[in-house]
């Protein structure tokens, strides 16, 4: 399962990547510290090379997680069902949990730190969605 990490915090990226590997993720794990760069990467990607899973941080300078999702709106239909975005944030604000409903691409919101149970749940969800296609 190919995975994309978007997080400006290098410690956060290190941690998520190691935890995913520990829980048996064997696909490519690519990380971007800038949402802008990640966006350009996705916009340029071939449909069959799109990552199935994206972990997106919210609080980032220049372009934050919400702005990234807004910028992705035009491609939403192509991405829907292929890419599953999980918000991975340290924020506990309720407003964030409500706001994800505006974005069909977002499959869920996870509060940092990611743990084994959450990783297995995410994998199960993505695989179930893939088997329906």
């Amino acid at each position: 399962m190919d995975t994309l990490l978007i997080d400006d915090d290098s410690i956060g990226v290190f941690l998520t990547e190691r935890l995913l590997k520990r829980e048996g993720f064997d696909g490519n794990i690519t990380s971007f510290s800038s949402a802008q760069d990640a966006l350009e990467h996705l916009q340029a990607a071939e449909p069959n090379s799109l990552p199935q899973l994206i972990f997106l941080d919210l609080n980032m300078p220049v372009m934050d997680g919400w702005e990234f999702l807004d910028a992705l709106k035009p491609q939403e239909t192509q991405l829907l069902g292929r890419c599953h975005v999980y918000i991975l944030t340290s924020s506990l604000a309720h407003s964030d949990a409500c706001r994800i409903r505006e974005f069909p691409l977002v499959a869920g919101l996870i509060h940092k730190p990611l743990d084994a149970a959450q990783i297995h749940a995410v994998r199960a969800q993505v695989e179930a969605a893939a088997s329906l296609r």
Partner: protein, 475 residues
Amino acid sequence: MSDIFQLKESEQRFRALFENNPDLVLFQDRESVIIDANPAYLDVLEKSREEVVGRSFSEFLPPHLRGLFAQKLREAFEGHKVNFDVEVQFEGTNRAFVFAVTKVPLVVEGVITGVHAVMRDMTETHASHQVIREQAHKLSTIFESITDAFFLLDSQWRYTFVNSDVERLLGMKREDLLGRTMQEVFPEEQHGVFQERFQHAFQTKQAVHFQAYFERMKLWLEVKAFPSLEGLSVYFSDVTDKVRSQEELYRQNQDLQQFTYIVSHNLRAPLANALGLVDLLGSIDKHSPDYDEALHNLKASTLQLDTVLRDMNTILSIRDKQDVNEPERVPLVDVVQQARLNLEEALAQCHAEVILNIPPDLHVLGNRAYLYSIFFNLFSNSVKYRSEKRPLQITVTATGRPSQGVRVLFADNGSGFDTDKAGPDIFRLYKRFHTAQAGRGMGLYLVKTHVETMGGKIDVSSTVDQGTQFILNLR
């Protein structure tokens, strides 16, 4: 025969009118001698017909009125119908009356043979008019003395009454309002809130209560308008201070919410990392390179946590001191120089040129440590966000304006930022606008907090790749 009969009948009719008239009726000759008087008159005089007829009317008048009545009688004998109002207390009686007097000359074959004087008792009418006048006066005194401004509009929107507070709050003279319509006097309010709410009150006959901004005088007014048969009674008062402090309170509340949100987020970010790293460390081989990196990151996360807590402490201690510290007169050029010297090395490394246009005797009312922190942060930001395309140049220009405080312009030629996009966020805590340079988004938040704590104001304008300008208004 029938002529005599007719004459008799008309004589009788006249007698009936004369005898039964509730008004006082006299018939006098040229010398004011009473030839006939009706019972109403006799009643008032408390005399019999015999005691009155044949005597001069003047005898019954108080001396000060004799001249007036004699004059009016002369006028009547000149052929005029005379009307006048007078207050009389007849001699020997104990009640005063207000009479409307009419004197009608009686002309027989071209000669005036006498004058009928009809005196209508207006005492009560006069008294009630007096009451109305007094009440009107009292009302006007009340309208003048209430602390609200008060005016009346008639159904055509014309001002029919205004008190002195109206003149003061609307900045208009009474004579420029009375008789004119609201639309004539305030054409700019044609589509405004006042017009709309008053219209609503007129149409629905329901009182309205609202707050609105009165542009011409730059005031917030709280208005109550009550429709009545005559038009609209409007009371209003100046609530500008109240509205401004509500706005200030709202802003402070927003700031506080923002602060809480940011703090929780920024405390939680390193904490969440630390929790995750502890989890990871428990499951990896102690001799793997990942183990060392995780441990290193754990240390970094706890340090970050500590930094955030220290920042909180700095911010909260500034807020606490807000009302305690007496402001001092700080020589501006000294503090700016001090901040510059402490960054000498960093400035020299990027070959920065610093130009100070600060009059040596210019003082700022505030706190030296805050002023130092402000300029230290501004200098270090200029260094941090300089453009790689040209050597850094910083210009600090200060001007003192009597009674308006000190204005400082801090300008650099650095990489700048998009003011439209960042806007007021630039001063927010932990809000960052660059990814290339390290920083935690604390500096400008502190600068703003310091400036505002000293009763000042800071604004920023910036153009990408041209530079940034901070404008500080200090006391």
